[in-house]
Protein backbone atom coordinates (compact mmCIF):
# COMPACT_ATOMS: atom_id res chain seq x y z
CA UNK A 1 0.00 0.00 0.00
CA UNK A 2 1.14 3.50 -0.74
CA UNK A 3 1.09 6.37 1.66
CA UNK A 4 -1.64 8.74 0.66
CA UNK A 5 -0.21 12.00 1.93
CA UNK A 6 -0.27 14.57 -0.83
CA UNK A 7 2.24 16.97 0.68
CA UNK A 8 3.63 19.82 -1.42
CA UNK A 9 6.61 18.28 -3.16
CA UNK A 10 9.68 19.98 -4.48
CA UNK A 11 8.79 18.58 -7.89
CA UNK A 12 5.13 19.40 -8.47
CA UNK A 13 5.08 19.01 -12.24
CA UNK A 14 4.33 15.25 -12.49
CA UNK A 15 1.49 15.59 -9.98
CA UNK A 16 0.08 18.58 -11.82
CA UNK A 17 0.21 16.74 -15.15
CA UNK A 18 -1.30 13.61 -13.62
CA UNK A 19 -4.18 15.53 -11.99
CA UNK A 20 -4.94 17.50 -15.14
CA UNK A 21 -4.96 14.30 -17.19
CA UNK A 22 -7.36 12.65 -14.73
CA UNK A 23 -9.71 15.66 -14.70
CA UNK A 24 -9.76 15.78 -18.49
CA UNK A 25 -10.36 12.02 -18.66
CA UNK A 26 -13.30 12.10 -16.22
CA UNK A 27 -14.79 15.19 -17.82
CA UNK A 28 -14.60 13.77 -21.32
CA UNK A 29 -15.97 10.41 -20.15
CA UNK A 30 -18.98 12.12 -18.57
CA UNK A 31 -19.73 14.98 -20.95
CA UNK A 32 -18.38 13.46 -24.14
CA UNK A 33 -19.37 9.81 -23.80
CA UNK A 34 -22.06 9.26 -21.21
CA UNK A 35 -24.20 12.41 -21.49
CA UNK A 36 -24.96 11.99 -25.21
CA UNK A 37 -24.72 8.21 -25.36
CA UNK A 38 -27.11 7.39 -22.55
CA UNK A 39 -29.95 9.09 -24.41
CA UNK A 40 -29.35 6.67 -27.24
CA UNK A 41 -28.91 3.68 -24.91
CA UNK A 42 -32.16 4.48 -23.14
CA UNK A 43 -34.01 4.81 -26.43
CA UNK A 44 -32.69 1.61 -27.92
CA UNK A 45 -33.01 -0.37 -24.70
CA UNK A 46 -36.63 0.68 -24.26
CA UNK A 47 -37.22 -0.25 -27.91
CA UNK A 48 -35.73 -3.71 -27.30
CA UNK A 49 -37.77 -4.20 -24.14
CA UNK A 50 -40.99 -3.15 -25.84
CA UNK A 51 -40.32 -5.21 -28.99
CA UNK A 52 -39.90 -2.12 -31.15
CA UNK A 53 -37.18 -1.07 -33.57
CA UNK A 54 -36.46 2.35 -32.16
CA UNK A 55 -34.94 5.44 -33.75
CA UNK A 56 -33.17 4.49 -36.98
CA UNK A 57 -34.02 7.06 -39.67
CA UNK A 58 -31.59 9.96 -39.29
CA UNK A 59 -28.49 9.49 -41.41
CA UNK A 60 -25.28 11.21 -42.42
CA UNK A 61 -24.44 10.31 -46.05
CA UNK A 62 -26.45 7.14 -45.64
CA UNK A 63 -24.93 6.00 -42.32
CA UNK A 64 -27.48 5.69 -39.53
CA UNK A 65 -25.08 4.10 -36.98
CA UNK A 66 -27.95 2.19 -35.32
CA UNK A 67 -29.80 5.40 -34.55
CA UNK A 68 -26.81 7.16 -33.01
CA UNK A 69 -27.25 10.03 -35.45
CA UNK A 70 -30.54 10.84 -33.72
CA UNK A 71 -28.47 12.04 -30.75
CA UNK A 72 -26.94 14.69 -33.03
CA UNK A 73 -30.29 15.74 -34.48
CA UNK A 74 -31.73 16.07 -30.98
CA UNK A 75 -28.84 18.28 -29.92
CA UNK A 76 -29.19 20.41 -33.06
CA UNK A 77 -32.91 20.82 -32.56
CA UNK A 78 -32.61 21.69 -28.88
CA UNK A 79 -29.89 24.25 -29.69
CA UNK A 80 -32.10 26.03 -32.21
CA UNK A 81 -35.25 25.92 -30.09
CA UNK A 82 -36.62 29.13 -28.59
CA UNK A 83 -35.11 29.81 -25.17
CA UNK A 84 -38.17 30.60 -23.12
CA UNK A 85 -38.35 32.53 -19.87
CA UNK A 86 -41.86 32.99 -18.51
CA UNK A 87 -43.22 36.39 -17.58
CA UNK A 88 -42.88 37.03 -13.84
CA UNK A 89 -40.06 34.49 -13.47
CA UNK A 90 -36.87 35.28 -11.60
CA UNK A 91 -34.59 35.56 -14.63
CA UNK A 92 -31.27 35.03 -12.82
CA UNK A 93 -32.38 31.99 -10.87
CA UNK A 94 -34.24 30.58 -13.87
CA UNK A 95 -30.96 30.74 -15.78
CA UNK A 96 -28.85 29.40 -12.95
CA UNK A 97 -30.95 26.37 -11.97
CA UNK A 98 -29.91 23.96 -14.78
CA UNK A 99 -26.23 24.66 -14.10
CA UNK A 100 -26.68 23.96 -10.40
CA UNK A 101 -28.38 20.70 -11.34
CA UNK A 102 -25.64 19.48 -13.72
CA UNK A 103 -22.45 20.51 -11.92
CA UNK A 104 -22.72 18.33 -8.75
CA UNK A 105 -22.99 15.10 -10.72
CA UNK A 106 -19.64 15.94 -12.31
CA UNK A 107 -18.00 17.22 -9.13
CA UNK A 108 -18.95 14.10 -7.18
CA UNK A 109 -16.75 12.09 -9.53
CA UNK A 110 -13.67 13.81 -8.09
CA UNK A 111 -13.46 11.36 -5.18
CA UNK A 112 -14.51 8.16 -6.95
CA UNK A 113 -11.51 5.95 -7.82
CA UNK A 114 -11.61 4.58 -11.35
CA UNK A 115 -8.42 2.58 -10.91
CA UNK A 116 -5.90 1.55 -8.26
CA UNK A 117 -2.48 2.93 -7.36
CA UNK A 118 0.43 2.26 -9.69
CA UNK A 119 4.16 2.86 -9.52
CA UNK A 120 5.07 4.30 -12.90
CA UNK A 121 8.73 5.17 -13.42
CA UNK A 122 9.10 6.11 -9.79
CA UNK A 123 5.96 8.24 -9.82
CA UNK A 124 3.03 7.04 -7.72
CA UNK A 125 -0.06 7.39 -9.86
CA UNK A 126 -3.38 7.23 -8.00
CA UNK A 127 -6.40 6.83 -10.27
CA UNK A 128 -8.65 9.24 -8.39
CA UNK A 129 -8.75 13.01 -8.85
CA UNK A 130 -8.93 13.94 -5.16
CA UNK A 131 -8.14 11.20 -2.66
CA UNK A 132 -10.11 12.75 0.22
CA UNK A 133 -10.19 10.99 3.57
CA UNK A 134 -13.90 11.88 3.92
CA UNK A 135 -14.52 10.40 0.44
CA UNK A 136 -18.10 9.22 0.40
CA UNK A 137 -19.29 12.05 2.66
CA UNK A 138 -18.11 14.46 -0.03
CA UNK A 139 -20.29 12.60 -2.56
CA UNK A 140 -23.30 13.01 -0.26
CA UNK A 141 -22.58 16.68 0.36
CA UNK A 142 -22.24 17.47 -3.35
CA UNK A 143 -25.24 15.34 -4.34
CA UNK A 144 -27.40 17.38 -1.96
CA UNK A 145 -26.45 20.54 -3.83
CA UNK A 146 -28.07 19.26 -7.03
CA UNK A 147 -31.36 19.26 -5.10
CA UNK A 148 -31.07 23.04 -4.97
CA UNK A 149 -31.01 23.14 -8.76
CA UNK A 150 -34.40 21.42 -8.99
CA UNK A 151 -35.96 23.37 -6.11
CA UNK A 152 -34.75 26.70 -7.49
CA UNK A 153 -36.02 25.75 -10.95
CA UNK A 154 -39.42 25.03 -9.44
CA UNK A 155 -39.52 28.30 -7.53
CA UNK A 156 -38.07 30.60 -10.19
CA UNK A 157 -40.45 29.52 -12.97
CA UNK A 158 -43.51 31.30 -11.54
CA UNK A 159 -45.69 28.31 -12.35
CA UNK A 160 -47.93 26.21 -10.12
CA UNK A 161 -46.77 22.88 -11.50
CA UNK A 162 -43.12 23.84 -11.29
CA UNK A 163 -43.48 24.89 -7.67
CA UNK A 164 -45.27 21.66 -6.78
CA UNK A 165 -42.53 19.69 -8.52
CA UNK A 166 -39.85 21.65 -6.68
CA UNK A 167 -41.49 20.98 -3.32
CA UNK A 168 -41.78 17.30 -4.15
CA UNK A 169 -38.08 17.16 -5.03
CA UNK A 170 -37.23 18.78 -1.72
CA UNK A 171 -39.37 16.35 0.28
CA UNK A 172 -38.17 13.25 -1.56
CA UNK A 173 -34.49 14.16 -1.42
CA UNK A 174 -34.63 15.01 2.29
CA UNK A 175 -36.32 11.72 3.15
CA UNK A 176 -34.00 9.54 1.13
CA UNK A 177 -30.75 11.32 1.93
CA UNK A 178 -31.19 10.39 5.59
CA UNK A 179 -31.86 6.75 4.76
CA UNK A 180 -29.04 6.66 2.18
CA UNK A 181 -26.47 7.87 4.72
CA UNK A 182 -27.55 5.25 7.24
CA UNK A 183 -27.48 2.36 4.73
CA UNK A 184 -23.79 3.01 4.15
CA UNK A 185 -22.80 3.07 7.84
CA UNK A 186 -22.50 -0.74 7.64
CA UNK A 187 -19.95 -0.40 4.82
CA UNK A 188 -17.89 2.09 6.85
CA UNK A 189 -17.92 -0.28 9.82
CA UNK A 190 -16.83 -3.28 7.76
CA UNK A 191 -14.01 -1.55 5.88
CA UNK A 192 -13.11 0.91 8.63
CA UNK A 193 -12.66 3.82 6.27
CA UNK A 194 -14.57 6.54 4.44
CA UNK A 195 -11.86 6.86 1.82
CA UNK A 196 -13.06 5.23 -1.40
CA UNK A 197 -9.55 4.12 -2.44
CA UNK A 198 -9.16 2.25 0.89
CA UNK A 199 -12.51 0.57 0.34
CA UNK A 200 -11.42 -0.35 -3.18
CA UNK A 201 -8.11 -1.87 -2.00
CA UNK A 202 -9.94 -3.83 0.72
CA UNK A 203 -12.11 -5.47 -1.96
CA UNK A 204 -9.18 -7.14 -3.74
CA UNK A 205 -10.43 -10.51 -2.49
CA UNK A 206 -13.60 -11.38 -4.43
CA UNK A 207 -15.42 -12.57 -1.30
CA UNK A 208 -14.73 -9.29 0.46
CA UNK A 209 -16.81 -7.33 -2.03
CA UNK A 210 -19.43 -5.09 -0.43
CA UNK A 211 -22.31 -7.11 -1.91
CA UNK A 212 -21.20 -10.18 0.10
CA UNK A 213 -20.40 -8.35 3.33
CA UNK A 214 -23.44 -6.02 3.22
CA UNK A 215 -26.21 -7.67 1.14
CA UNK A 216 -29.07 -5.85 2.93
CA UNK A 217 -27.16 -2.57 2.79
CA UNK A 218 -26.75 -3.03 -0.95
CA UNK A 219 -30.47 -3.40 -1.63
CA UNK A 220 -31.35 -0.48 0.64
CA UNK A 221 -28.69 1.68 -0.98
CA UNK A 222 -29.75 0.94 -4.55
CA UNK A 223 -33.37 1.78 -3.63
CA UNK A 224 -32.31 5.10 -2.09
CA UNK A 225 -30.05 5.83 -5.04
CA UNK A 226 -32.93 5.25 -7.46
CA UNK A 227 -35.05 7.66 -5.42
CA UNK A 228 -32.26 10.25 -5.46
CA UNK A 229 -32.03 9.89 -9.23
CA UNK A 230 -35.68 11.02 -9.64
CA UNK A 231 -36.39 8.51 -12.41
CA UNK A 232 -39.26 6.02 -12.63
CA UNK A 233 -40.43 4.43 -10.29
CA UNK A 234 -39.52 7.44 -8.11
CA UNK A 235 -40.30 10.20 -10.61
CA UNK A 236 -43.03 11.90 -8.59
CA UNK A 237 -41.25 15.30 -8.92
CA UNK A 238 -41.94 15.21 -12.66
CA UNK A 239 -45.06 13.03 -12.67
CA UNK A 240 -46.58 13.72 -16.08
CA UNK A 241 -50.10 12.64 -15.19
CA UNK A 242 -50.20 14.90 -12.14
CA UNK A 243 -48.01 17.99 -12.53
CA UNK A 244 -47.27 18.30 -16.29
CA UNK A 245 -43.45 18.04 -16.21
CA UNK A 246 -42.74 19.05 -12.62
CA UNK A 247 -39.95 21.45 -11.84
CA UNK A 248 -38.81 21.87 -15.47
CA UNK A 249 -42.26 22.57 -16.91
CA UNK A 250 -41.23 26.09 -18.00
CA UNK A 251 -37.85 25.14 -19.47
CA UNK A 252 -37.37 24.79 -23.20
CA UNK A 253 -34.50 23.98 -25.53
CA UNK A 254 -31.05 23.33 -24.17
CA UNK A 255 -31.88 24.28 -20.58
CA UNK A 256 -34.47 21.53 -20.51
CA UNK A 257 -31.87 19.20 -21.99
CA UNK A 258 -29.50 20.11 -19.17
CA UNK A 259 -31.95 18.76 -16.59
CA UNK A 260 -32.07 15.62 -18.65
CA UNK A 261 -28.31 15.47 -18.80
CA UNK A 262 -28.15 15.97 -15.04
CA UNK A 263 -30.38 12.92 -14.64
CA UNK A 264 -28.13 10.81 -16.88
CA UNK A 265 -24.93 12.00 -15.21
CA UNK A 266 -26.42 11.29 -11.79
CA UNK A 267 -27.10 7.79 -13.03
CA UNK A 268 -23.41 7.42 -13.97
CA UNK A 269 -22.34 8.77 -10.59
CA UNK A 270 -24.70 6.42 -8.74
CA UNK A 271 -23.43 3.45 -10.73
CA UNK A 272 -19.84 4.48 -10.01
CA UNK A 273 -20.52 4.76 -6.25
CA UNK A 274 -22.29 1.39 -6.33
CA UNK A 275 -19.31 -0.19 -8.06
CA UNK A 276 -16.80 1.49 -5.75
CA UNK A 277 -18.59 0.42 -2.57
CA UNK A 278 -20.25 -2.90 -3.37
CA UNK A 279 -18.69 -4.33 -6.54
CA UNK A 280 -15.00 -4.18 -5.93
CA UNK A 281 -14.32 -0.88 -7.66
CA UNK A 282 -11.62 -1.43 -10.24
CA UNK A 283 -10.73 -4.99 -9.05
CA UNK A 284 -10.99 -7.91 -11.43
CA UNK A 285 -12.73 -10.87 -9.71
CA UNK A 286 -10.25 -13.57 -8.52
CA UNK A 287 -7.32 -11.69 -10.10
CA UNK A 288 -5.33 -9.53 -7.72
CA UNK A 289 -3.21 -6.54 -8.64
CA UNK A 290 0.02 -8.52 -8.26
CA UNK A 291 -1.27 -11.40 -10.42
CA UNK A 292 -2.20 -8.99 -13.22
CA UNK A 293 1.21 -7.31 -13.01
CA UNK A 294 2.86 -10.76 -13.22
CA UNK A 295 0.72 -11.64 -16.24
CA UNK A 296 1.98 -8.53 -18.04
CA UNK A 297 5.49 -9.10 -16.68
CA UNK A 298 6.92 -9.72 -20.17
CA UNK A 299 6.44 -5.99 -20.89
CA UNK A 300 8.92 -4.96 -18.24
CA UNK A 301 8.18 -3.61 -14.77
CA UNK A 302 6.76 -0.17 -15.65
CA UNK A 303 4.87 -1.14 -18.79
CA UNK A 304 3.32 -4.05 -16.87
CA UNK A 305 1.98 -1.47 -14.42
CA UNK A 306 0.60 0.60 -17.31
CA UNK A 307 -1.14 -2.47 -18.76
CA UNK A 308 -2.57 -3.35 -15.32
CA UNK A 309 -3.83 0.21 -14.99
CA UNK A 310 -5.55 0.06 -18.38
CA UNK A 311 -7.23 -3.25 -17.51
CA UNK A 312 -8.40 -1.90 -14.16
CA UNK A 313 -9.80 1.31 -15.64
CA UNK A 314 -11.62 -0.63 -18.34
CA UNK A 315 -13.02 -3.11 -15.81
CA UNK A 316 -14.27 -0.19 -13.70
CA UNK A 317 -16.11 1.45 -16.60
CA UNK A 318 -17.45 -1.93 -17.70
CA UNK A 319 -18.98 -2.44 -14.26
CA UNK A 320 -20.41 1.08 -14.35
CA UNK A 321 -22.00 0.37 -17.74
CA UNK A 322 -23.49 -2.85 -16.38
CA UNK A 323 -25.11 -0.97 -13.49
CA UNK A 324 -26.42 1.74 -15.79
CA UNK A 325 -28.03 -1.07 -17.78
CA UNK A 326 -29.66 -2.47 -14.63
CA UNK A 327 -30.89 0.99 -13.56
CA UNK A 328 -32.46 1.49 -16.99
CA UNK A 329 -34.01 -1.98 -16.80
CA UNK A 330 -35.70 -0.93 -13.56
CA UNK A 331 -36.76 2.39 -15.09
CA UNK A 332 -38.53 0.71 -18.02
CA UNK A 333 -40.10 -2.09 -15.94
CA UNK A 334 -41.77 -0.45 -12.96
CA UNK A 335 -44.67 2.03 -12.86
CA UNK A 336 -44.52 5.17 -10.73
CA UNK A 337 -45.14 5.02 -6.98
CA UNK A 338 -47.79 7.18 -5.40
CA UNK A 339 -46.49 10.11 -3.34
CA UNK A 340 -47.52 8.63 0.02
CA UNK A 341 -46.04 5.26 -0.95
CA UNK A 342 -42.67 6.89 -1.60
CA UNK A 343 -42.74 8.62 1.76
CA UNK A 344 -43.83 5.45 3.59
CA UNK A 345 -41.11 3.42 1.89
CA UNK A 346 -38.47 5.95 2.86
CA UNK A 347 -39.37 6.63 6.47
CA UNK A 348 -41.17 3.48 7.62
CA UNK A 349 -39.31 0.70 5.81
CA UNK A 350 -35.85 1.74 4.62
CA UNK A 351 -34.88 3.85 7.62
CA UNK A 352 -35.69 1.16 10.26
CA UNK A 353 -34.12 -1.54 8.08
CA UNK A 354 -30.96 0.56 7.77
CA UNK A 355 -30.78 0.83 11.57
CA UNK A 356 -31.30 -2.95 11.88
CA UNK A 357 -28.52 -3.43 9.34
CA UNK A 358 -26.13 -1.35 11.43
CA UNK A 359 -27.06 -3.33 14.56
CA UNK A 360 -26.58 -6.73 12.89
CA UNK A 361 -23.29 -5.62 11.34
CA UNK A 362 -22.05 -4.54 14.77
CA UNK A 363 -23.09 -7.86 16.35
CA UNK A 364 -21.41 -9.93 13.62
CA UNK A 365 -18.23 -7.87 13.86
CA UNK A 366 -18.14 -8.40 17.64
CA UNK A 367 -18.72 -12.13 17.16
CA UNK A 368 -16.01 -12.45 14.51
CA UNK A 369 -13.51 -10.70 16.75
Amino acid sequence: MFDYTYLPEPNMVPYLVETMAKIIFIFSMNMGVFAPLLGWVERKQSALMQDRIGANRADIFGFTLFGLVHVMTDALKLLTKEDFIPRGADRTLHYLAPFIAVAPALVAFAVIPFGGQYNLWGHKANMVIADLDVGILFVFAVASISTYGSVIAGWASNNNWSLLGGIRVGAQMLSYEVAMGLTLVGIFMVYGSLRLTDIGVAQENFFHWGIFLQPLGFFLFITCALAENKRTPFDIPEAESEIVAGYFTEYSGLKFAMFWMAEFLEMVTISAVLVALFFGGWQVPFVSHAMLADLFGFLGRDWAQVATMLVHVMVFWGKVLFWIFILMLIRWSLPRFRYDQVMNLGWKIILPLALVNIFITALVMLWVK
Binding site: Q50, G54, A55, N56, A58, T73, G88, F248
Partner: protein
Protein backbone atom coordinates in the same frame (compact mmCIF):
# COMPACT_ATOMS: atom_id res chain seq x y z
CA UNK B 1 -48.03 34.01 -19.69
CA UNK B 2 -47.89 34.84 -23.35
CA UNK B 3 -45.21 33.87 -25.80
CA UNK B 4 -42.41 36.39 -25.66
CA UNK B 5 -40.72 37.12 -28.96
CA UNK B 6 -37.20 37.54 -27.73
CA UNK B 7 -35.18 35.93 -30.44
CA UNK B 8 -35.38 37.84 -33.67
CA UNK B 9 -35.21 36.08 -36.96
CA UNK B 10 -31.56 35.60 -37.92
CA UNK B 11 -31.83 36.83 -41.51
CA UNK B 12 -33.68 39.99 -40.45
CA UNK B 13 -31.09 40.61 -37.73
CA UNK B 14 -28.33 40.61 -40.36
CA UNK B 15 -30.12 43.35 -42.27
CA UNK B 16 -31.28 41.09 -45.09
CA UNK B 17 -27.71 41.17 -46.44
CA UNK B 18 -27.12 37.49 -45.83
CA UNK B 19 -29.22 34.57 -47.06
CA UNK B 20 -28.82 31.38 -45.07
CA UNK B 21 -29.29 28.34 -47.25
CA UNK B 22 -26.85 25.62 -46.20
CA UNK B 23 -27.34 26.43 -42.52
CA UNK B 24 -31.09 26.21 -43.00
CA UNK B 25 -30.64 22.77 -44.54
CA UNK B 26 -28.58 21.51 -41.60
CA UNK B 27 -30.97 22.94 -39.03
CA UNK B 28 -33.92 21.54 -40.96
CA UNK B 29 -32.22 18.14 -40.98
CA UNK B 30 -31.78 18.33 -37.23
CA UNK B 31 -35.35 19.39 -36.61
CA UNK B 32 -37.07 16.88 -38.83
CA UNK B 33 -35.61 13.85 -37.05
CA UNK B 34 -36.21 15.16 -33.56
CA UNK B 35 -39.89 15.96 -33.12
CA UNK B 36 -41.10 16.00 -29.54
CA UNK B 37 -44.86 15.55 -29.55
CA UNK B 38 -47.57 17.29 -27.62
CA UNK B 39 -50.50 14.84 -27.94
CA UNK B 40 -53.70 16.91 -27.65
CA UNK B 41 -56.10 13.97 -27.63
CA UNK B 42 -59.81 14.57 -27.15
CA UNK B 43 -61.69 11.71 -28.80
CA UNK B 44 -61.73 8.30 -30.45
CA UNK B 45 -58.82 9.01 -32.85
CA UNK B 46 -56.68 8.70 -29.70
CA UNK B 47 -56.96 4.90 -29.99
CA UNK B 48 -55.40 5.08 -33.44
CA UNK B 49 -52.74 7.45 -32.15
CA UNK B 50 -51.82 4.87 -29.49
CA UNK B 51 -51.48 2.31 -32.24
CA UNK B 52 -49.18 4.66 -34.18
CA UNK B 53 -47.03 5.32 -31.13
CA UNK B 54 -47.08 1.72 -29.92
CA UNK B 55 -44.67 -1.12 -30.69
CA UNK B 56 -46.31 -2.36 -33.90
CA UNK B 57 -46.06 0.87 -35.90
CA UNK B 58 -43.42 2.52 -33.69
CA UNK B 59 -43.31 6.29 -34.12
CA UNK B 60 -39.82 6.25 -32.58
CA UNK B 61 -38.33 5.02 -35.86
CA UNK B 62 -38.74 8.57 -37.18
CA UNK B 63 -37.25 10.06 -34.02
CA UNK B 64 -40.66 11.34 -32.95
CA UNK B 65 -41.26 9.17 -29.92
CA UNK B 66 -40.87 11.42 -26.94
CA UNK B 67 -44.15 12.95 -25.77
CA UNK B 68 -43.56 16.14 -23.76
CA UNK B 69 -46.62 17.18 -21.81
CA UNK B 70 -45.22 20.64 -21.23
CA UNK B 71 -45.89 22.74 -24.38
CA UNK B 72 -42.59 24.59 -23.85
CA UNK B 73 -40.63 21.48 -24.79
CA UNK B 74 -42.85 20.19 -27.60
CA UNK B 75 -42.32 20.69 -31.34
CA UNK B 76 -45.43 19.22 -32.94
CA UNK B 77 -48.95 19.79 -31.68
CA UNK B 78 -50.75 16.54 -32.51
CA UNK B 79 -54.42 17.51 -32.53
CA UNK B 80 -56.24 14.18 -32.31
CA UNK B 81 -60.02 14.08 -32.09
CA UNK B 82 -63.02 16.39 -32.30
CA UNK B 83 -62.44 19.98 -31.19
CA UNK B 84 -65.59 21.61 -29.84
CA UNK B 85 -65.98 25.38 -29.51
CA UNK B 86 -65.68 24.92 -25.76
CA UNK B 87 -62.33 23.20 -26.30
CA UNK B 88 -60.96 25.63 -28.89
CA UNK B 89 -59.63 28.30 -26.49
CA UNK B 90 -57.69 25.60 -24.61
CA UNK B 91 -56.17 24.28 -27.82
CA UNK B 92 -55.15 27.79 -28.88
CA UNK B 93 -53.68 28.45 -25.44
CA UNK B 94 -51.55 25.32 -25.74
CA UNK B 95 -50.45 26.39 -29.23
CA UNK B 96 -49.51 29.88 -27.99
CA UNK B 97 -47.55 28.39 -25.10
CA UNK B 98 -45.38 26.21 -27.35
CA UNK B 99 -41.84 27.41 -27.93
CA UNK B 100 -40.81 28.22 -31.52
CA UNK B 101 -40.33 26.48 -33.92
CA UNK B 102 -43.64 24.60 -33.79
CA UNK B 103 -45.80 22.65 -36.18
CA UNK B 104 -49.40 21.52 -36.08
CA UNK B 105 -50.50 18.07 -37.20
CA UNK B 106 -54.24 17.66 -37.90
CA UNK B 107 -55.04 14.02 -37.16
CA UNK B 108 -58.42 12.75 -38.42
CA UNK B 109 -61.43 14.09 -40.28
CA UNK B 110 -62.91 16.01 -37.33
CA UNK B 111 -59.75 18.05 -36.89
CA UNK B 112 -59.34 18.68 -40.63
CA UNK B 113 -62.90 19.76 -41.40
CA UNK B 114 -65.25 19.03 -38.55
CA UNK B 115 -65.88 15.60 -40.06
CA UNK B 116 -69.32 14.20 -39.50
CA UNK B 117 -70.06 16.75 -36.78
CA UNK B 118 -71.46 19.41 -39.09
CA UNK B 119 -73.20 21.31 -36.28
CA UNK B 120 -73.06 24.37 -34.02
CA UNK B 121 -70.86 22.85 -31.32
CA UNK B 122 -67.87 21.68 -33.32
CA UNK B 123 -65.03 23.71 -34.84
CA UNK B 124 -65.28 23.17 -38.60
CA UNK B 125 -61.59 22.37 -39.07
CA UNK B 126 -58.91 23.67 -36.71
CA UNK B 127 -57.36 25.66 -39.57
CA UNK B 128 -60.02 28.25 -38.75
CA UNK B 129 -58.17 28.93 -35.49
CA UNK B 130 -54.59 27.65 -35.94
CA UNK B 131 -52.05 27.46 -38.78
CA UNK B 132 -52.03 23.76 -39.72
CA UNK B 133 -49.03 22.16 -41.47
CA UNK B 134 -50.25 18.67 -42.26
CA UNK B 135 -53.79 17.33 -42.72
CA UNK B 136 -54.37 13.61 -42.33
CA UNK B 137 -58.05 12.83 -43.00
CA UNK B 138 -59.77 9.55 -42.17
CA UNK B 139 -62.19 8.46 -39.50
CA UNK B 140 -59.84 7.42 -38.01
CA UNK B 141 -56.78 7.52 -40.31
CA UNK B 142 -54.80 4.32 -40.58
CA UNK B 143 -51.31 4.38 -39.03
CA UNK B 144 -49.82 4.13 -42.54
CA UNK B 145 -51.58 7.39 -43.44
CA UNK B 146 -50.21 9.05 -40.31
CA UNK B 147 -46.69 8.00 -41.25
CA UNK B 148 -47.21 9.30 -44.76
CA UNK B 149 -48.25 12.61 -43.22
CA UNK B 150 -45.28 12.58 -40.88
CA UNK B 151 -42.83 11.93 -43.72
CA UNK B 152 -44.41 14.77 -45.72
CA UNK B 153 -44.03 17.02 -42.67
CA UNK B 154 -40.38 15.99 -42.45
CA UNK B 155 -39.88 17.03 -46.08
CA UNK B 156 -41.57 20.33 -45.33
CA UNK B 157 -39.34 20.95 -42.31
CA UNK B 158 -36.24 20.02 -44.30
CA UNK B 159 -36.99 22.65 -46.94
CA UNK B 160 -38.06 25.37 -44.51
CA UNK B 161 -36.30 28.76 -44.53
CA UNK B 162 -35.34 30.38 -41.28
CA UNK B 163 -37.22 33.50 -42.39
CA UNK B 164 -40.43 31.60 -41.59
CA UNK B 165 -39.75 31.86 -37.86
CA UNK B 166 -41.03 33.02 -35.45
CA UNK B 167 -44.62 32.41 -36.29
CA UNK B 168 -46.15 34.17 -33.31
CA UNK B 169 -49.54 33.78 -31.77
CA UNK B 170 -52.55 32.12 -33.36
CA UNK B 171 -54.94 34.60 -34.98
CA UNK B 172 -57.85 33.70 -32.76
CA UNK B 173 -59.70 35.33 -29.91
CA UNK B 174 -62.37 33.32 -28.10
CA UNK B 175 -65.75 34.96 -28.68
CA UNK B 176 -67.35 33.69 -25.50
CA UNK B 177 -65.81 34.93 -22.27
CA UNK B 178 -65.11 31.85 -20.18
Amino acid sequence: MGVEMEEQNLEAALGDSVILTQLDKVIGWGRKYSFFLYPFITACCGMEFMSVAGPRYDLDRFGAALPRFSPRQADILFVVGTISHKQAPILVKVYNQMAEPKWVFAFGACVCSGGMYNNYSTVQGIDTILPVDIYVPGCPPRPEMVFDGLIKLQELVQNERSSKWPRGKAAYEPRVKR
